[in-house]
Symmetry: C2
Subunit: 457 residues, 2 copies
């Protein structure tokens, strides 16, 4: 059985796979800082050369920002596109790192061996799991596992300014039958998971204005409208006593969870007490008739992300400010339309402000939720592959946050994505001392070999 | 009639009175800025010398901050203390001034002649009205008008750090039968007024805490408690639909306005439409069963002066912050006790926060309202004097803000105060291009002569 040969090859050559990852981790490809522009290009070139060595027709495609790495391999079967990103987050505060973030090291820790470096988990270690699986496959089979495109972005950590234009301009080249995205994690750090639902996001920033200037509360307090009171009332009214969002029509396009997913989620036995306990909380605070996993994966939210107005310095200033400000975001699910939600929110807010006030709306935007078509047999096949590799039932899970590229793949390229990743909650991505478990790397490579054996070619 | 002689002397020597004020205005006695410490001392010395020239036994009393000017004149009758302050506000932004703030000038404007300089109205021009009245009195009578103490502070614009200790340490010397304070204005810039009610102030600053760190709304949104929501609900609950404060017991110690004052206030025909219109408003927003003057003079309030939390920079950050903050102040009236109000507020707030939240209370304090005993015949006598000078009925009025020294005179020295001043709403105190109308100065001096004729000696 050739899969076993591939897996054996992966096990045998893990030290070499690790060496290659270390080489990539040494390149400080911080995309948001112009000082590292050449390093980003160098990381892209490194990947192009590596893909070429595997037989991919690869190149670094220039953009106004950092290059996109694109590699194609022809072959039989469905066209599968793999996505990862080679850029990394900045490293500050540098003094909180135990070592140079770009001098990677394999370290023994009480929880096992880890690869310590910026980008080890997010996302260089993860993207290399797929490339190493292809390498082992090629060695055993003499060819890559089917019709594959590898697409590696260099701007994921800096808001992906080139992504939409690039996907749009290269739609024909990049449109595959299915995408694989490796930028997520194991559920609770242990359960293999395929993310099939990603919440969307709609954002609103606004100002409540009353008087034409700041007023002294001695002269005007009790007589003049205080926009801080108006803003507080608006934000307080956003949820009812049961935790539901009060904006009319907000839940109109929200589907109930399918029974099959409900069962899988129940079987995950999500330890919400630990999840909340880790951040000092103990009570689920959302819609009181929903489970904690529903609250973060399949239910929409309205959250105030910022509010400010008046005096916030040391001491007191008895001011009635002229303005109060807030930033509110909505996590969206199912078929909720960001524009429709924002329109309803604006109308809801405008309807309740008192005389002498106006609301000024600032630029707002949004992206819908991504809900993958899990009826595609590839999803179940991948779930079986992951179950075999990790020795415990893999699950289709949700994600509370958006992964924008999955949405763009759907909206621009018309393809669904399977998000499979091997990160752990304690990987400290975006923080000092980022790491990737050696186990994540090793079993990640093996996972992809198993998945490709079932869905590629 | 000697009063007429005094008034004539005032009229004749107005140019010399103005010259003296100009001299005082040239001293940049900015109390809050250590760079002007010597100038504050110079202003105090200038005043000491001027008082001595009038026969006062005067000196500059040192404090840890700027000196207090104290001058005594013995004589018959009730002991009357006059208070003003010789320090001034900073002048920035300097580029918004039409001229050097410390190079005073008499200017012709469409509204009449004005004295343009920092401190012209607040409070050097005002305090000199009293001294000039004494000077003319002395010239005509050969003696000062009775048992007088003049007490001039140099730290009023920098929170008066030395005031309470100084009054406490010099209680015997400074305790008079009645205080006169010249640091207020004409009602609506035209009606002579004696302020007999000053609202107090209680301040509370607090933080609502939930999670142990900031959370990502993708991972926790809908599940974790958002302290911004908790804070918004707290602040929104502070008033009911009628505009009344909901804190239990808040109105317990609030007396209704005496009929005599209610009639005077009605006769003022306060143009609240203009008062609000000047700042872009049109609807009285406070307790809906109260008149606008009651709202700002005789009713207590709860006002949010600042609230903040989460992200308030450019763009969006989908954060659930760990903390939300607010500053709330209460304007107090009648017999309301600041400590009692703050205790009730804390209990009210603590009772309504949800699980997983706590409130951290920061330093808070307060001062009670000042309500003068207008049954003292001196009040009615002064009102008649002002009515004569200004040719229209003077009124006992309230003040929405506190003038702390009036409260300290009551609590430490046991004396009531009559607050009589001649400033106008457009004097731009604390702002660039401060001015004092020449009419305010001239009729202010004459007013004090008339008041002293009735209540001193």
């Amino acid at each position: 059985m050739t899969l076993n040969a591939v897996l054996a090859r992966i096990d045998e050559t893990l030290p070499q796979s690790l060496d290659r990852l270390m080489d990539l981790l040494r390149i400080p490809s911080i995309s948001t800082d112009p000082a590292y522009k050449a390093d980003c290009a160098r990381a892209a070139d490194w990947l192009v050369n590596d893909l070429k060595s595997l037989g991919f027709d690869a190149h670094a495609a220039q953009t106004p920002g950092h290059p996109m790495v694109v590699g194609h391999a022809d072959g039989p079967g469905r066209h599968i596109l793999f996505y990862g990103h080679y850029d990394v987050q900045p490293v500050d505060p540098l003094d909180l790192w135990d070592r140079d973030p770009f001098d990677p090291e394999l370290q023994d820790t009480p929880k096992g061996r880890v690869i310590r470096a910026r980008g080890a988990s997010d996302d260089k270690g993860q993207l290399m799991t797929f490339i190493e699986a292809c390498r082992a496959w090629k060695h055993v089979h003499g060819s890559l596992p089917g019709k594959l495109t590898i697409f590696l972005e260099g701007e994921e950590e800096s808001s992906s300014p080139s992504l939409i234009p690039f996907l749009t301009e290269n739609r024909a080249e990049l449109s595959a039958d299915l995408a694989l995205i490796c930028d997520t994690g194991l559920f609770e750090g242990a359960v293999p998971a395929i993310t099939t639902m990603l919440r969307g996001l709609a954002k609103a920033e606004f100002t409540v204005r009353a008087a034409s200037r700041d007023l002294h509360s001695g002269m005007y307090g009790g007589l003049a409208r205080n926009p801080l009171h108006v803003m507080a009332a608006l934000l307080a009214n956003l949820h009812d006593a049961s935790g539901a969002v009060t904006v009319p029509g907000f839940y109109d396009d929200v589907a109930e969870l399918p029974d099959s997913l409900r069962q899988q989620w129940q079987s995950l036995a999500f330890d919400h007490a630990k999840y909340l306990g880790d951040v000092g909380l103990s009570h689920p605070a959302g819609e009181q008739d929903r489970t904690p996993l529903e609250m973060i994966w399949s239910r929409p939210t309205a959250e105030v992300n910022g509010m400010w107005g008046g005096y916030n310095g040391v001491g007191f200033k008895t001011v009635l400010p002229a303005e109060a400000h807030a930033k509110v975001s909505f996590r969206l699910v199912s078929q909720q339309d960001p524009a429709k939600v924002l329109t309803a929110f604006r109308a809801w807010a405008e309807a309740q402000i008192p005389p002498d006030c106006e609301i000024v709306w600032h630029a707002t935007d949004g992206d819908p939720a991504s809900v993958m078509a899990i009826a595609d047999p590839a999803f179940e096949a991948a779930r079986e592959a992951l179950t075999e590799e990790w020795g415990r039932p893999a699950a289709f899970v949700g994600a509370g946050g958006s992964i924008p590229v999955a949405g763009y793949f759907k909206s621009i390229l018309g393809m669904d994505a399977m998000l499979i990743g091997f990160g752990k909650d304690d990987d400290q991505i975006h923080s000092p001392n980022e790491k990737y478990d050696l186990d994540s790397f090793h079993h990640g490579i093996r996972s992809w070999a198993r998945v490709l054996a079932r869905i590629a070619g």
